[in-house]
Symmetry: C2
């Protein structure tokens, strides 16, 4: 395997997961720190992962009738204040622009922490009749939230995301959209990122500021902490009433629209690292790996090696392949591309060439096999498909092994502290009990899952009759 | 042709070009105004044009070895001030962030008006050896410049662009890159946007703040005013010295890098409108038209019409086609899609179907032809190619008809005021003469073109020996 002395060691993930994460982010060249605390620089490798995620999600959104738009970066203070719960949720963490050049602005403007208010203001002007509905808009943009504590990708003061904002004639239309998007997110996470998720509904205290309902997909990291990986909100007609977004229906009646919003962000890159990474660095699922195959020529000074290596690169067609012709040693290259999580390393040297074969090494399992050069494209395609599947299966197994049930608060504490993972527990539905569990365990409610289970009759906190089951976890 | 009574009229372009422009922007649904003066909302149709531009340019940049990254939105005041000319150029028009939530920031931050300082700060940390060079980075992002007067797409307080920032070992390397990019921009404008350009060098007073040389592509709008359509700057080692960006060369000597930066923006959408549009609205070149063909079924209630129309849509393969099945009249639809500049309208009704044919109407010329349904894809592909070519030819002819030479200032004034367009004139090279021409004519120097001409011996302003020929125009 890789020559470990040639690359700087990263911290062992079992000893210090947080430091391991930071090491991988830096050593795999995903991002760099900037001069502004809490804002990172997306380096080419990290940004290329985001571009592949965008391409996949954008395609899914367009196929389901969504259109991309672009709203302004800045929101006036008065516009932000139009919906009461919304402004209370976001005002404490927005960045305020007070001057344009040397002039003080008449009203200060915030940098969008999310764009509900902008879309609503536009919808109030542009939606008139039932013929205009549904409006299915999405935008890819940057967002600023002035967070106190930050970590690369997981929580940064500026991040990138897509935010969808839709308006519908009926409550049913909005609810269908909210769930359709949640399914798209879940399917994207499972198929592209190889990250299994739990789909469910947020409790009232965890829902989005101004939403009637917030649906979420929750995933479990290697260390047993949860990551909220995407949310989809049903606003009902709350924003419509605050902003006056009305349409004339077929019977010529004036009605309020029903709205949704939903988003996924660059924090999913953090999820990828923490679900799949190992002590050799990043492990990327082929679907979103910027480089799916790296060709490492062995004894590249021998005249037959580079021509054959280049011939193989050409034979790989649409597969995202690079060839490492740098003057570093093969061992160094092995370690470097393992750190970057490249799914397959293809080794080719004089002996291989003499036998018309080459070596494929899988990043996820370390397995090495020898294959015929003839038919190399289909061998690699099948290995890529296999890696994608087995990474998902491994992540599913991890999640299932780390999902526990608890009847009492003490059991919950024990599972969360010692075994670490999701803990399922029954809940009476009161905010007091939710707060009590939070205070006792340091965990937060992640969601009430769609797949309902009845694990006990009584609330884990108060012992009164339970209404629903909740997933709990310590979370990023 | 289109039923003009069914859509709201737009202003006649020959009577009031500025109002015509605003009308087209609104009626073709390209953008809408936002609550923040000078910031527009990119609506789906306008944003789709930008996405197609991005896709084309991004491909060209990746093919020439450039990598996408993403730098932070915010720049500290002290970082902005590191290069003297640069801060003088931009400080008067930046938006300042002074508060994060309720706390005043220790140092105020500006929203990027351009990102040289951020890239330089990163390069100072990340570039060490000749092995690291060249660094060929690009980013797609939003930019804020607090302009006093704004117009949709042409000059907005927030706009979208790509900005490339590269670092090279040698002065020659930087100069080659600067020119390579200018060629990419010019080729993109001609081939994709069907907009011919003049390539040249900016005079010292018109170059980018901090640049050693600024190259530009200049295009000519229908009204005879120029649009700066893309710029490519060679910084020499000026920024490298201000930021301390040094590398160790092969002989182990410490050297400063040589840098470039370059960008194109959403103002090119404004260029598209003003070069190709007519009194029926937008006219889009097929290469960047979100819809290349719109199918309008005639007598759609007849049972054979919609199935046949859908069959044709399927037969068109990769061509970007939509079918208008709304309940508006055909005349209304014709006018609407003409307003949006769709290159080809395909009409299909019962009589056509009976004859196994359909009608194709070209947006650029208004020409209508009848074609066999059998082989429709190749007929349309060839018409699209033809439209693309003939739109470029028409724009070239316009530019050539509107490019004049002048020996005296009076001649210049006359050409600029009465005939309107580019005026070529000789120049001694002094800033005083450039200012004098500017003051006398209201035009600005656009560039010293690569294709040199000697139209006279003496400077148009002072009569001293001329050094170069300059393109002048009133500009957007």
């Amino acid at each position: 395997m890789a020559d470990k002395n040639l690359v700087e060691q990263i911290t062992n993930m079992e000893q210090d997961f947080a430091q391991w994460y930071t090491d991988v982010v830096k050593k795999a060249n995903l991002c760099d720190y900037s001069e502004i605390g809490g804002c990172v620089i997306f380096l080419p490798y990290g940004y290329a992962i985001w571009e592949l995620m965008q391409k996949d999600v954008d395609k899914r959104l367009k196929e389901t009738g969504h259109q991309n738009v672009y709203m302004p970066l800045l929101i006036s203070e008065s516009l932000l204040q139009k919906e009461k719960e919304h402004v209370e949720g976001f005002a404490p963490e927005v960045a305020w622009v007070t001057h344009g050049g040397s002039e003080e602005l008449a009203e200060r403007l915030c940098i969008r922490p999310t764009s509900e208010t902008l879309f609503c203001s536009h919808y109030a002007n542009s939606i008139q009749s039932w013929r205009d509905l549904p409006v299915l808009y999405n935008q890819w943009c940057n967002i600023v939230r002035w967070e106190k504590t930050t970590r690369p990708f997981l929580r940064t003061r500026e991040f990138l995301w897509q935010e969808g904002h839709t308006a519908h004639a009926t409550a049913e239309g909005a609810e269908e959209e909210t769930l359709r998007i949640l399914d798209i997110y879940a399917d994207f996470c499972e198929r592209a990122l190889a990250i299994p998720v739990v789909k469910g509904l947020k409790t009232d205290s965890e829902k989005f500021a101004g939403a009637k309902k917030t649906y979420t997909i929750e995933s479990l990291m290697h260390d047993g902490r949860a990551l909220q990986s995407g949310t989809s909100h049903n606003f009902g007609d709350g924003f419509a009433k605050a902003f006056g977004i009305q349409y004339t229906d077929k019977a010529n009646q004036l009605r309020y629209v029903h709205q949704t919003s939903w988003g996924i962000t660059t924090r999913l890159i953090g999820g990828l690292i923490m679900v799949h990474g190992d002590n050799n660095g990043l492990v990327l699922p082929p679907a979103i790996a910027p480089t799916q195959v790296v060709v490492v020529p062995i004894a590249a000074h021998k005249p037959e090696v580079l021509p054959k290596a280049n011939e193989i690169v050409k034979a790989l067609g649409d597969i995202r392949v690079t060839i490492d012709t740098s003057d570093k040693s093969p061992g160094w290259k092995f370690a470097e591309h393992e750190m970057k999580g490249v799914p397959i390393r293809l080794e080719i040297g004089p002996k291989d060439i003499a036998n018309d074969q080459c070596v494929l090494a899988r990043r996820d399992t370390g397995e090495k096999i020898t294959v015929r050069i003839d038919g190399i494209q289909s061998a690699i395609n099948s290995m890529l498909a296999n890696i994608q599947q087995s990474m998902l299966a491994k992540a599913k197994l991890h999640m299932s092994n780390r999902t526990f049930s608890a009847i009492t608060l003490d059991e919950m504490k024990e599972k969360l502290e010692i075994e670490q993972g999701f803990v399922k527990a029954m809940w009476c539905g009161s905010e007091e009990c939710e707060d009590a569990v939070k205070a006792a365990t340091g965990a937060s409610s992640r969601c009430m899952p769609f797949e309902r289970e009845h694990i006990h009759d009584k609330c884990v906190a108060c012992g009164k009759p339970a209404q629903s089951m909740v997933y709990w976890a310590r979370a990023y």
